[in-house]
């Protein structure tokens, strides 16, 4: 057997691939792209929610939101670490993000306009992310799978806190309920887009599935998300912005309308409402932090020398 065949055989037998094991260059590259994109999404994902930390309406909500946004930074860190085991540095990944070479989830290019958006992000965006992440706990690359297990464990409260925010709003005043409905209207379709293009349009899907770095198909995960989310929304007394959405007893699933793929492509290409702001915020943080990072390094070197002398 060739090394590539041995490699594929291990994957087929469900043996995890570890950092120093042989792996085809394509596997390594695809994983780096996928993991770093995931990490960037966590980091950029801090921004829309961070936008409301200083305005959270109660101290309890403020504490929850702070903890949640902090978790996202932590998850970004776990994922960068997983990618680093494949031989790429965090600096390189960040440089690729800033240059536009690497992507992050387009969902974070939409603005958080009201407090209800914080609820919608937790309920829908985290809900969609968790479905994808639970599947990835079984992926073939050991460090990535382990990071996913940890992330899934920590994220279980994220979706609940979002739903709780919306539940409180829906039980509140007329204005509050309208706020919740407006948030659902704006976040529903972008959440469905998070699962990516149709499987038939997905360029790397087949190879990634064979390598077990993609576990369930985009459309399969999207259907699962719709099926579990619609009853939750009905319980809130909210209406989904999709006239075609209805239960199909024959299929045992909800039918739903077609996504606006033009919008999807447009946002990926950088024309979403917040693309520029998000990237600029990250670049500024990185550039303005440069002197801090250099100072700490300089201090460490000075004191290492002192200790050695």
């Amino acid at each position: 057997m060739t090394p590539d065949e041995i490699f594929q055989d291990r994957i087929d037998r469900g043996i995890k691939i570890e950092p120093k094991d042989y792996m085809p260059e394509g596997y390594r590259k695809t994983l780096i792209r996928q993991i770093s994109q995931h990490a960037h999404s966590e980091i950029v994902g801090q921004l829309p929610e961070g936008n409301w930390i200083t305005r959270a309406p109660s101290l309890r909500r403020k504490a929850i939101l702070l903890a949640k946004v902090q978790d996202e930074a932590g998850h970004g860190l776990y994922l960068y670490s997983a990618a680093e085991t494949l031989g790429v540095s965090r600096d390189q990944m960040i440089a690729d993000l800033h240059s536009g070479k690497a992507k992050y989830s387009s969902i974070f290019n939409y603005p958080t306009l009201t407090w209800a958006d914080i609820g919608a992000i937790g309920w829908l965006v985290d809900g969609a992310a968790i479905i994808n992440q639970i599947a990835l706990c079984r992926c073939s690359y050991g460090p990535y799978a382990r990071a996913m297990v940890r992330i899934c464990k920590e994220e279980s409260f994220h979706q609940r806190q979002g739903y709780e925010i919306l539940l409180t709003l829906c039980r509140g005043t007329k204005e509050q309920k309208a706020m919740a409905q407006d948030a659902l209207n704006r976040w529903w379709w972008p959440s469905l887009m998070m699962f990516g293009p149709h499987d038939s349009e997905s360029p790397h899907a087949e190879q990634s599935t064979k390598w077990k770095i993609k576990i369930v198909s985009n459309d399969g995960l999207r259907q699962k998300f719709v099926d579990q989310t619609v009853p939750q929304g009905e319980y809130l007394g909210l209406t989904f912005p999709d006239p075609k959405l209805k239960w199909n007893a024959v299929r045992g699933h909800y039918d739903f309308g077609e996504i606006d793929w033009q919008e999807f492509k447009n946002v990926i290409q950088g024309n979403g409402p917040c693309n520029r702001d998000r990237l600029r915020a990250r670049i500024e943080a990185h550039e303005q932090g440069a002197w801090v990072r250099e100072a700490a390094m300089a201090y460490a070197k000075k004191h290492e020398n002192k200790a050695a002398a």
């Binding site: 120093k20 902090q70 860190l77 776990y78 390094m297 004191h303």
Partner: protein, 93 residues
């Protein structure tokens, strides 16, 4: 580029088990690495003791040595309690 070096973090939890690898992080020096490890990896009360080691200081076994290093142990099943046949009636063994 002047990236902070990578450190591996090991944490001992509440239950008396040995330190376990928790993950890695970047820090300029050992003291900061320890602080960062506390902030990053014990946000949920996971640990009571932390070790940090520079990743570059770790020597790892390579996959090609997996045979000589680990197969001998695999052929010594008598080290494991389930190797021994004990009648069902005998309890608390």
């Amino acid at each position: 580029m002047n990236e902070w070096p990578l450190w591996e973090v090991f944490i001992r939890g509440q239950h008396g088990l040995a330190h376990q690898h928790a993950g890695s992080l970047h820090a300029p020096d050992a003291e900061t690495a320890l602080n960062n490890a506390r902030d990053v990896y014990t946000r949920r009360n996971e640990g009571v003791s932390i070790w940090v080691v520079k990743s570059s200081d770790i020597t790892a076994s390579s996959p090609s040595e997996k045979g000589p290093l680990f197969e001998p142990a695999a052929s010594k099943p008598y080290r494991h309690p389930t190797f021994y046949e004990v009648p069902d009636e005998v309890k608390h063994l």
